[in-house]
Protein backbone atom coordinates (compact mmCIF):
# COMPACT_ATOMS: atom_id res chain seq x y z
CA UNK A 1 0.00 0.00 0.00
CA UNK A 2 1.32 3.42 -0.97
CA UNK A 3 2.03 5.92 1.76
CA UNK A 4 0.03 9.13 1.84
CA UNK A 5 3.19 11.09 1.15
CA UNK A 6 4.08 9.23 -1.99
CA UNK A 7 0.50 9.68 -3.17
CA UNK A 8 0.85 13.43 -2.77
CA UNK A 9 4.17 13.53 -4.56
CA UNK A 10 2.65 11.43 -7.34
CA UNK A 11 -0.16 13.91 -7.65
CA UNK A 12 2.34 16.75 -7.74
CA UNK A 13 4.37 15.04 -10.38
CA UNK A 14 1.24 14.32 -12.44
CA UNK A 15 0.22 17.94 -12.13
CA UNK A 16 3.66 18.94 -13.35
CA UNK A 17 3.34 16.60 -16.30
CA UNK A 18 -0.07 17.90 -17.17
CA UNK A 19 0.87 21.55 -16.73
CA UNK A 20 4.25 21.38 -18.45
CA UNK A 21 2.85 21.88 -21.97
CA UNK A 22 0.72 24.76 -20.68
CA UNK A 23 3.80 26.47 -19.24
CA UNK A 24 5.71 25.75 -22.43
CA UNK A 25 2.96 27.54 -24.34
CA UNK A 26 2.64 30.43 -21.92
CA UNK A 27 6.29 31.12 -21.21
CA UNK A 28 7.13 32.95 -24.43
CA UNK A 29 4.02 35.07 -23.98
CA UNK A 30 4.66 35.86 -20.32
CA UNK A 31 8.27 36.75 -20.98
CA UNK A 32 7.67 38.82 -24.07
CA UNK A 33 8.15 42.59 -23.74
CA UNK A 34 4.71 42.88 -25.29
CA UNK A 35 3.03 41.23 -22.33
CA UNK A 36 5.24 42.63 -19.56
CA UNK A 37 4.68 46.20 -20.70
CA UNK A 38 0.93 45.59 -20.94
CA UNK A 39 0.86 44.87 -17.24
CA UNK A 40 2.66 47.99 -16.15
CA UNK A 41 2.22 50.74 -18.71
CA UNK A 42 0.00 53.75 -18.04
CA UNK A 43 -0.59 55.74 -21.21
CA UNK A 44 -0.44 59.54 -21.18
CA UNK A 45 -3.73 61.44 -21.36
CA UNK A 46 -5.09 63.78 -24.00
CA UNK A 47 -6.08 67.30 -22.77
CA UNK A 48 -9.68 66.10 -22.36
CA UNK A 49 -8.53 63.11 -20.29
CA UNK A 50 -8.71 60.20 -22.76
CA UNK A 51 -5.86 57.68 -22.77
CA UNK A 52 -3.71 58.93 -25.64
CA UNK A 53 -3.69 56.70 -28.74
CA UNK A 54 -2.67 59.46 -31.11
CA UNK A 55 0.01 59.10 -33.72
CA UNK A 56 0.86 57.18 -36.87
CA UNK A 57 0.87 53.41 -36.44
CA UNK A 58 1.58 50.39 -38.61
CA UNK A 59 0.19 46.88 -38.28
CA UNK A 60 2.55 45.35 -40.86
CA UNK A 61 3.60 41.84 -39.87
CA UNK A 62 4.41 38.59 -41.60
CA UNK A 63 2.42 36.58 -39.03
CA UNK A 64 -0.59 35.29 -40.96
CA UNK A 65 -4.20 35.76 -39.88
CA UNK A 66 -4.72 31.99 -39.74
CA UNK A 67 -2.25 29.45 -38.40
CA UNK A 68 -0.09 27.81 -41.07
CA UNK A 69 -0.28 24.01 -41.26
CA UNK A 70 3.34 23.70 -40.12
CA UNK A 71 2.36 25.12 -36.70
CA UNK A 72 -0.77 23.01 -36.24
CA UNK A 73 -1.45 22.47 -32.54
CA UNK A 74 1.11 25.11 -31.59
CA UNK A 75 -0.03 28.56 -30.44
CA UNK A 76 3.47 30.05 -30.12
CA UNK A 77 6.74 29.79 -32.00
CA UNK A 78 10.03 29.54 -30.19
CA UNK A 79 12.48 32.38 -30.87
CA UNK A 80 14.45 30.06 -33.16
CA UNK A 81 11.32 29.06 -35.06
CA UNK A 82 10.34 32.71 -35.44
CA UNK A 83 13.77 33.61 -36.82
CA UNK A 84 13.63 30.71 -39.28
CA UNK A 85 10.08 31.61 -40.28
CA UNK A 86 11.08 35.23 -40.91
CA UNK A 87 14.06 34.17 -43.04
CA UNK A 88 11.93 31.81 -45.07
CA UNK A 89 9.03 34.23 -45.64
CA UNK A 90 11.35 37.08 -46.62
CA UNK A 91 13.32 34.86 -49.02
CA UNK A 92 10.05 33.72 -50.56
CA UNK A 93 8.74 37.29 -50.88
CA UNK A 94 11.97 38.38 -52.49
CA UNK A 95 12.22 35.48 -54.89
CA UNK A 96 12.50 36.35 -58.55
CA UNK A 97 10.09 33.71 -59.73
CA UNK A 98 9.91 32.83 -63.41
CA UNK A 99 8.05 29.56 -63.14
CA UNK A 100 4.44 28.99 -64.16
CA UNK A 101 4.60 30.39 -67.69
CA UNK A 102 3.38 33.68 -69.15
CA UNK A 103 -0.03 33.70 -67.43
CA UNK A 104 1.55 33.44 -63.98
CA UNK A 105 4.19 35.93 -65.03
CA UNK A 106 1.61 38.58 -65.91
CA UNK A 107 -0.04 38.26 -62.50
CA UNK A 108 3.30 38.35 -60.72
CA UNK A 109 4.20 41.66 -62.29
CA UNK A 110 6.19 43.18 -59.50
CA UNK A 111 8.44 42.19 -56.70
CA UNK A 112 9.03 42.90 -53.05
CA UNK A 113 10.47 46.38 -53.68
CA UNK A 114 6.92 47.56 -54.16
CA UNK A 115 5.62 45.89 -51.06
CA UNK A 116 5.79 46.88 -47.44
CA UNK A 117 4.49 43.83 -45.67
CA UNK A 118 6.77 44.04 -42.69
CA UNK A 119 9.66 41.73 -41.94
CA UNK A 120 8.85 40.45 -38.46
CA UNK A 121 6.47 38.09 -36.74
CA UNK A 122 4.31 39.58 -34.00
CA UNK A 123 6.29 40.06 -30.74
CA UNK A 124 4.13 37.56 -28.86
CA UNK A 125 5.48 34.92 -31.30
CA UNK A 126 1.96 33.67 -31.81
CA UNK A 127 1.65 31.48 -34.88
CA UNK A 128 -1.50 33.26 -36.06
CA UNK A 129 -3.17 36.61 -35.53
CA UNK A 130 -6.32 34.71 -34.59
CA UNK A 131 -6.23 33.92 -30.87
CA UNK A 132 -9.71 32.44 -30.62
CA UNK A 133 -10.74 29.78 -31.59
CA UNK A 134 -7.56 28.30 -30.10
CA UNK A 135 -6.78 26.43 -33.33
CA UNK A 136 -6.00 29.78 -34.95
CA UNK A 137 -8.55 29.41 -37.73
CA UNK A 138 -11.68 31.30 -38.75
CA UNK A 139 -14.62 29.10 -37.72
CA UNK A 140 -16.35 27.38 -40.64
CA UNK A 141 -19.19 29.17 -42.38
CA UNK A 142 -22.67 27.95 -41.54
CA UNK A 143 -24.03 25.54 -44.19
CA UNK A 144 -26.59 28.12 -45.32
CA UNK A 145 -23.98 30.83 -45.75
CA UNK A 146 -21.61 28.44 -47.51
CA UNK A 147 -24.40 27.61 -49.95
CA UNK A 148 -25.17 31.28 -50.45
CA UNK A 149 -21.51 32.08 -51.12
CA UNK A 150 -21.26 29.23 -53.63
CA UNK A 151 -24.34 30.61 -55.40
CA UNK A 152 -22.77 34.06 -55.48
CA UNK A 153 -19.63 32.63 -57.01
CA UNK A 154 -21.53 30.64 -59.63
CA UNK A 155 -23.69 33.59 -60.61
CA UNK A 156 -20.65 35.78 -61.19
CA UNK A 157 -18.88 33.40 -63.55
CA UNK A 158 -18.65 34.97 -66.97
CA UNK A 159 -19.70 38.41 -65.74
CA UNK A 160 -16.54 39.72 -64.12
CA UNK A 161 -15.93 42.28 -66.87
CA UNK A 162 -19.53 43.25 -67.74
CA UNK A 163 -18.98 46.71 -66.31
CA UNK A 164 -17.20 48.61 -63.54
CA UNK A 165 -19.82 47.52 -61.00
CA UNK A 166 -18.72 43.94 -61.52
CA UNK A 167 -15.17 44.68 -60.49
CA UNK A 168 -13.85 44.45 -56.96
CA UNK A 169 -14.31 47.30 -54.51
CA UNK A 170 -10.53 47.77 -54.51
CA UNK A 171 -10.46 48.24 -58.26
CA UNK A 172 -13.29 50.73 -57.99
CA UNK A 173 -11.30 52.68 -55.40
CA UNK A 174 -14.11 52.21 -52.88
CA UNK A 175 -12.68 50.16 -50.04
CA UNK A 176 -9.79 47.87 -49.35
CA UNK A 177 -10.84 44.55 -47.73
CA UNK A 178 -8.19 45.00 -45.01
CA UNK A 179 -8.91 48.71 -44.36
CA UNK A 180 -11.61 47.57 -42.08
CA UNK A 181 -13.01 47.60 -39.76
CA UNK A 182 -11.51 45.23 -38.78
CA UNK A 183 -8.08 46.53 -39.74
CA UNK A 184 -5.75 43.83 -40.97
CA UNK A 185 -2.21 43.94 -42.31
CA UNK A 186 -1.98 43.90 -46.07
CA UNK A 187 0.99 44.02 -48.43
CA UNK A 188 1.55 47.76 -48.32
CA UNK A 189 0.12 51.01 -46.92
CA UNK A 190 -0.42 49.37 -43.53
CA UNK A 191 -0.47 52.79 -41.91
CA UNK A 192 -3.07 54.38 -39.70
CA UNK A 193 -3.28 57.78 -38.08
CA UNK A 194 -5.28 58.11 -34.88
CA UNK A 195 -6.46 61.57 -33.87
CA UNK A 196 -8.51 62.24 -30.74
CA UNK A 197 -10.76 65.18 -30.02
CA UNK A 198 -13.19 65.68 -27.15
CA UNK A 199 -15.88 63.06 -27.67
CA UNK A 200 -14.31 61.52 -30.78
CA UNK A 201 -11.62 59.21 -32.07
CA UNK A 202 -10.71 59.35 -35.76
CA UNK A 203 -8.77 56.65 -37.58
CA UNK A 204 -7.37 57.49 -41.00
CA UNK A 205 -6.43 54.44 -43.05
CA UNK A 206 -3.74 54.99 -45.68
CA UNK A 207 -5.02 52.24 -47.96
CA UNK A 208 -7.62 54.05 -50.07
CA UNK A 209 -7.54 56.90 -47.50
CA UNK A 210 -10.68 56.12 -45.54
CA UNK A 211 -11.33 58.01 -42.30
CA UNK A 212 -13.45 56.43 -39.59
CA UNK A 213 -14.93 58.92 -37.16
CA UNK A 214 -15.97 57.23 -33.93
CA UNK A 215 -18.23 59.14 -31.51
CA UNK A 216 -17.77 58.39 -27.82
CA UNK A 217 -21.02 59.89 -26.52
CA UNK A 218 -23.14 56.73 -26.28
CA UNK A 219 -25.41 57.82 -29.10
CA UNK A 220 -27.41 54.92 -30.56
CA UNK A 221 -26.38 53.21 -33.79
CA UNK A 222 -27.96 54.31 -37.07
CA UNK A 223 -31.33 52.74 -37.92
CA UNK A 224 -30.95 49.15 -39.15
CA UNK A 225 -31.98 50.19 -42.65
CA UNK A 226 -28.85 52.34 -43.07
CA UNK A 227 -25.72 50.54 -44.30
CA UNK A 228 -22.26 52.02 -44.62
CA UNK A 229 -19.11 50.77 -46.38
CA UNK A 230 -17.14 50.80 -43.11
CA UNK A 231 -20.17 50.26 -40.89
CA UNK A 232 -21.32 52.54 -38.09
CA UNK A 233 -18.84 52.73 -35.20
CA UNK A 234 -19.50 53.75 -31.58
CA UNK A 235 -16.76 53.90 -28.98
CA UNK A 236 -16.34 54.04 -25.23
CA UNK A 237 -13.47 53.70 -22.78
CA UNK A 238 -13.12 50.73 -20.43
CA UNK A 239 -10.17 51.81 -18.28
CA UNK A 240 -7.29 52.37 -20.70
CA UNK A 241 -8.96 50.39 -23.47
CA UNK A 242 -10.95 52.01 -26.26
CA UNK A 243 -13.81 49.67 -27.12
CA UNK A 244 -15.43 50.26 -30.51
CA UNK A 245 -18.58 48.48 -31.60
CA UNK A 246 -19.43 48.58 -35.29
CA UNK A 247 -22.70 47.52 -36.91
CA UNK A 248 -24.72 48.60 -39.99
CA UNK A 249 -22.26 47.08 -42.46
CA UNK A 250 -22.96 46.81 -46.16
CA UNK A 251 -23.74 43.45 -47.75
CA UNK A 252 -21.35 44.47 -50.53
CA UNK A 253 -18.27 44.11 -48.34
CA UNK A 254 -18.86 40.60 -47.03
CA UNK A 255 -15.89 40.37 -44.73
CA UNK A 256 -14.78 36.73 -44.88
CA UNK A 257 -18.33 35.64 -45.65
CA UNK A 258 -20.10 37.82 -43.05
CA UNK A 259 -22.89 40.10 -44.23
CA UNK A 260 -24.49 43.36 -43.15
CA UNK A 261 -25.48 41.78 -39.82
CA UNK A 262 -21.85 41.47 -38.71
CA UNK A 263 -21.21 42.93 -35.26
CA UNK A 264 -17.60 43.85 -34.75
CA UNK A 265 -16.00 44.77 -31.42
CA UNK A 266 -12.50 46.25 -31.49
CA UNK A 267 -10.33 46.91 -28.46
CA UNK A 268 -7.40 49.35 -28.59
CA UNK A 269 -5.04 49.31 -25.60
CA UNK A 270 -1.82 51.26 -25.58
CA UNK A 271 0.64 48.92 -23.85
CA UNK A 272 3.78 51.01 -24.27
CA UNK A 273 5.00 54.29 -25.73
CA UNK A 274 5.23 52.70 -29.18
CA UNK A 275 2.66 49.89 -29.18
CA UNK A 276 -1.10 49.58 -29.25
CA UNK A 277 -2.56 46.15 -28.72
CA UNK A 278 -5.42 45.88 -31.21
CA UNK A 279 -7.95 43.10 -30.80
CA UNK A 280 -11.15 42.49 -32.66
CA UNK A 281 -14.00 40.02 -32.37
CA UNK A 282 -16.21 39.20 -35.33
CA UNK A 283 -19.70 38.01 -34.54
CA UNK A 284 -22.20 37.10 -37.22
CA UNK A 285 -24.18 33.97 -36.31
CA UNK A 286 -25.66 33.84 -39.81
CA UNK A 287 -22.12 33.46 -41.20
CA UNK A 288 -19.84 31.85 -38.63
CA UNK A 289 -20.54 28.87 -36.41
CA UNK A 290 -19.03 30.90 -33.54
CA UNK A 291 -17.42 34.34 -32.98
CA UNK A 292 -13.69 34.69 -33.57
CA UNK A 293 -11.00 37.02 -32.25
CA UNK A 294 -7.66 38.26 -33.56
CA UNK A 295 -4.89 40.24 -31.88
CA UNK A 296 -2.51 42.48 -33.84
CA UNK A 297 0.08 44.88 -32.46
CA UNK A 298 0.13 48.36 -33.95
CA UNK A 299 3.59 49.88 -33.77
CA UNK A 300 4.44 53.56 -33.88
CA UNK A 301 5.91 54.49 -37.25
CA UNK A 302 7.15 57.51 -39.08
CA UNK A 303 4.55 59.68 -40.74
CA UNK A 304 3.10 61.21 -42.63
CA UNK A 305 0.20 59.19 -43.98
CA UNK A 306 0.34 59.60 -47.75
CA UNK A 307 -2.71 60.38 -49.79
CA UNK A 308 -3.98 57.45 -51.80
CA UNK A 309 -5.90 59.43 -54.45
CA UNK A 310 -6.98 56.22 -56.15
CA UNK A 311 -9.33 57.50 -58.84
CA UNK A 312 -6.82 59.90 -60.31
CA UNK A 313 -4.59 57.10 -61.53
CA UNK A 314 -7.04 54.29 -62.03
CA UNK A 315 -6.33 53.70 -65.73
CA UNK A 316 -6.47 50.02 -64.99
CA UNK A 317 -10.27 49.96 -64.73
CA UNK A 318 -10.70 51.24 -68.29
CA UNK A 319 -7.91 48.95 -69.50
CA UNK A 320 -9.51 45.86 -68.00
CA UNK A 321 -12.93 46.57 -69.49
CA UNK A 322 -11.45 47.61 -72.85
CA UNK A 323 -9.42 44.40 -72.80
CA UNK A 324 -12.57 42.35 -72.25
CA UNK A 325 -14.38 44.15 -75.11
CA UNK A 326 -11.41 43.56 -77.45
CA UNK A 327 -11.37 39.90 -76.51
CA UNK A 328 -15.12 39.54 -77.14
CA UNK A 329 -14.72 41.18 -80.54
CA UNK A 330 -11.86 38.86 -81.47
CA UNK A 331 -13.87 35.82 -80.36
CA UNK A 332 -16.92 36.97 -82.33
CA UNK A 333 -14.81 37.44 -85.46
CA UNK A 334 -13.42 33.91 -85.12
CA UNK A 335 -16.76 32.24 -84.40
CA UNK A 336 -18.37 30.53 -87.43
CA UNK A 337 -21.06 32.75 -88.94
CA UNK A 338 -24.64 31.73 -88.15
CA UNK A 339 -26.25 29.72 -90.95
CA UNK A 340 -22.95 28.49 -92.43
Amino acid sequence: MRSKESGVSRLKSEARNILAPVFRLLTPLLLSPFFLSAQTYTPPRTPDGQPDLQGVWTNATITPLERPAEFAGKAFMTKEEAAAYERRVLANNDADRRDGGAEADVGRAYNNAWYDRGTKTVPTLRTSLIIDPPDGHIPPLTPQRQKQMDEIRRAAIGHSTDGPENRALTERCILWPTAGPPMLPSFYNNNYQIVQAPGYVMILVEMVHDARIIPLDNRPHLPASVHEWMGDSRGHWEGNTLVVETTNFSDKTRFRGADEHMRLVERFTRIGPDTINYEFTVDDPSAFTKPWTAQIPMTRTEGPIFEYACHEGNYAMADMLAGARAQEKAEAAQAPKAGN
Partner: protein, 136 residues
Protein backbone atom coordinates in the same frame (compact mmCIF):
# COMPACT_ATOMS: atom_id res chain seq x y z
CA UNK B 1 -33.44 38.57 -49.88
CA UNK B 2 -31.75 39.38 -53.11
CA UNK B 3 -27.99 39.75 -52.91
CA UNK B 4 -26.04 41.92 -55.32
CA UNK B 5 -24.32 38.79 -56.47
CA UNK B 6 -21.62 39.94 -58.75
CA UNK B 7 -20.46 42.83 -56.62
CA UNK B 8 -20.18 40.63 -53.60
CA UNK B 9 -18.21 38.11 -55.56
CA UNK B 10 -15.77 40.69 -56.79
CA UNK B 11 -15.03 41.71 -53.23
CA UNK B 12 -14.52 38.11 -52.18
CA UNK B 13 -12.28 37.28 -55.08
CA UNK B 14 -10.11 40.27 -54.47
CA UNK B 15 -9.67 39.43 -50.83
CA UNK B 16 -8.59 35.95 -51.77
CA UNK B 17 -6.31 37.04 -54.58
CA UNK B 18 -4.82 40.07 -52.91
CA UNK B 19 -1.42 38.70 -51.95
CA UNK B 20 -0.62 38.02 -55.59
CA UNK B 21 -2.46 40.65 -57.51
CA UNK B 22 -1.98 43.90 -55.63
CA UNK B 23 -4.55 46.54 -56.43
CA UNK B 24 -6.11 44.70 -59.32
CA UNK B 25 -5.80 41.60 -61.40
CA UNK B 26 -3.05 42.23 -63.92
CA UNK B 27 -4.28 39.19 -65.82
CA UNK B 28 -7.51 41.04 -66.66
CA UNK B 29 -5.60 43.97 -68.08
CA UNK B 30 -2.56 42.52 -69.83
CA UNK B 31 -2.23 39.75 -72.37
CA UNK B 32 0.09 36.86 -71.59
CA UNK B 33 0.15 36.14 -75.34
CA UNK B 34 1.60 39.56 -76.10
CA UNK B 35 5.02 39.78 -74.47
CA UNK B 36 6.89 42.97 -75.42
CA UNK B 37 10.45 44.19 -75.10
CA UNK B 38 10.66 47.96 -75.37
CA UNK B 39 13.63 50.29 -75.40
CA UNK B 40 12.94 53.96 -74.89
CA UNK B 41 13.55 57.19 -73.06
CA UNK B 42 11.53 58.12 -70.00
CA UNK B 43 9.30 61.08 -70.93
CA UNK B 44 7.11 61.27 -67.84
CA UNK B 45 6.48 59.38 -64.61
CA UNK B 46 3.07 59.56 -62.95
CA UNK B 47 3.56 58.81 -59.28
CA UNK B 48 -0.10 58.20 -58.61
CA UNK B 49 -2.19 55.59 -56.88
CA UNK B 50 -3.28 52.91 -57.25
CA UNK B 51 -0.36 52.29 -59.60
CA UNK B 52 2.47 54.48 -60.85
CA UNK B 53 2.85 54.78 -64.63
CA UNK B 54 6.16 55.29 -66.43
CA UNK B 55 5.86 56.86 -69.90
CA UNK B 56 8.57 56.07 -72.45
CA UNK B 57 9.15 57.14 -76.06
CA UNK B 58 9.99 54.14 -78.22
CA UNK B 59 11.51 54.81 -81.67
CA UNK B 60 9.60 53.39 -84.62
CA UNK B 61 11.43 52.07 -87.69
CA UNK B 62 10.67 55.35 -89.52
CA UNK B 63 12.30 57.39 -86.77
CA UNK B 64 9.08 58.65 -85.22
CA UNK B 65 8.29 58.16 -81.52
CA UNK B 66 5.61 55.93 -80.09
CA UNK B 67 4.66 56.62 -76.50
CA UNK B 68 4.16 53.61 -74.26
CA UNK B 69 2.84 53.61 -70.68
CA UNK B 70 4.27 51.09 -68.26
CA UNK B 71 2.28 50.20 -65.16
CA UNK B 72 4.14 49.83 -61.87
CA UNK B 73 3.23 49.59 -58.17
CA UNK B 74 1.87 51.93 -55.52
CA UNK B 75 3.95 55.09 -55.05
CA UNK B 76 3.41 55.31 -51.28
CA UNK B 77 5.79 52.46 -50.54
CA UNK B 78 8.44 54.05 -52.73
CA UNK B 79 8.03 57.47 -51.12
CA UNK B 80 8.56 55.81 -47.79
CA UNK B 81 11.77 54.27 -49.11
CA UNK B 82 13.01 57.67 -50.21
CA UNK B 83 12.20 57.20 -53.87
CA UNK B 84 11.14 60.56 -55.32
CA UNK B 85 10.16 61.98 -58.69
CA UNK B 86 13.86 62.67 -59.28
CA UNK B 87 14.83 59.06 -58.78
CA UNK B 88 13.88 58.08 -62.32
CA UNK B 89 14.93 61.12 -64.32
CA UNK B 90 13.27 62.21 -67.57
CA UNK B 91 15.48 61.18 -70.46
CA UNK B 92 16.76 57.97 -68.82
CA UNK B 93 17.04 55.12 -71.32
CA UNK B 94 15.28 52.03 -70.03
CA UNK B 95 14.48 48.61 -71.37
CA UNK B 96 11.11 47.14 -70.43
CA UNK B 97 10.20 43.47 -70.59
CA UNK B 98 6.50 43.05 -70.04
CA UNK B 99 3.11 42.27 -71.49
CA UNK B 100 0.93 44.50 -73.65
CA UNK B 101 -2.61 45.56 -72.73
CA UNK B 102 -5.36 43.22 -73.92
CA UNK B 103 -7.09 46.00 -75.84
CA UNK B 104 -4.00 46.47 -78.00
CA UNK B 105 -3.25 49.98 -76.70
CA UNK B 106 0.33 51.03 -76.11
CA UNK B 107 0.34 50.12 -72.47
CA UNK B 108 2.21 47.35 -70.75
CA UNK B 109 3.08 46.05 -67.34
CA UNK B 110 6.77 46.03 -66.59
CA UNK B 111 8.00 42.56 -65.80
CA UNK B 112 11.57 43.88 -65.76
CA UNK B 113 12.83 47.41 -66.18
CA UNK B 114 16.55 47.68 -66.86
CA UNK B 115 18.66 50.84 -66.59
CA UNK B 116 21.50 51.67 -69.02
CA UNK B 117 24.13 50.38 -66.58
CA UNK B 118 22.38 47.01 -66.40
CA UNK B 119 20.75 47.51 -63.03
CA UNK B 120 17.26 46.16 -62.82
CA UNK B 121 14.78 48.69 -61.59
CA UNK B 122 12.51 47.26 -58.93
CA UNK B 123 10.45 44.93 -61.07
CA UNK B 124 10.79 41.21 -61.34
CA UNK B 125 14.22 40.98 -59.81
CA UNK B 126 15.45 40.47 -56.33
CA UNK B 127 16.84 43.92 -55.63
CA UNK B 128 14.47 45.07 -52.91
CA UNK B 129 17.42 45.92 -50.68
CA UNK B 130 19.13 48.17 -53.19
CA UNK B 131 16.65 51.00 -52.92
CA UNK B 132 16.20 53.69 -55.49
CA UNK B 133 18.73 54.32 -58.22
CA UNK B 134 21.00 57.23 -57.41
CA UNK B 135 19.91 60.67 -58.48
CA UNK B 136 21.84 62.26 -61.29
Amino acid sequence: MRIPLVTALAAILTAAAAPIWAHHAFAAEFDAKKPVKLTGKVTKVEWINPHAWIHIAVKNADGSDQEWMIEAGTPNTLFRRGFTKDSLAIGTDIVVDGYQAKDGSFRANGRDITLPDGRKLFLGNNNAGEGAPEQK
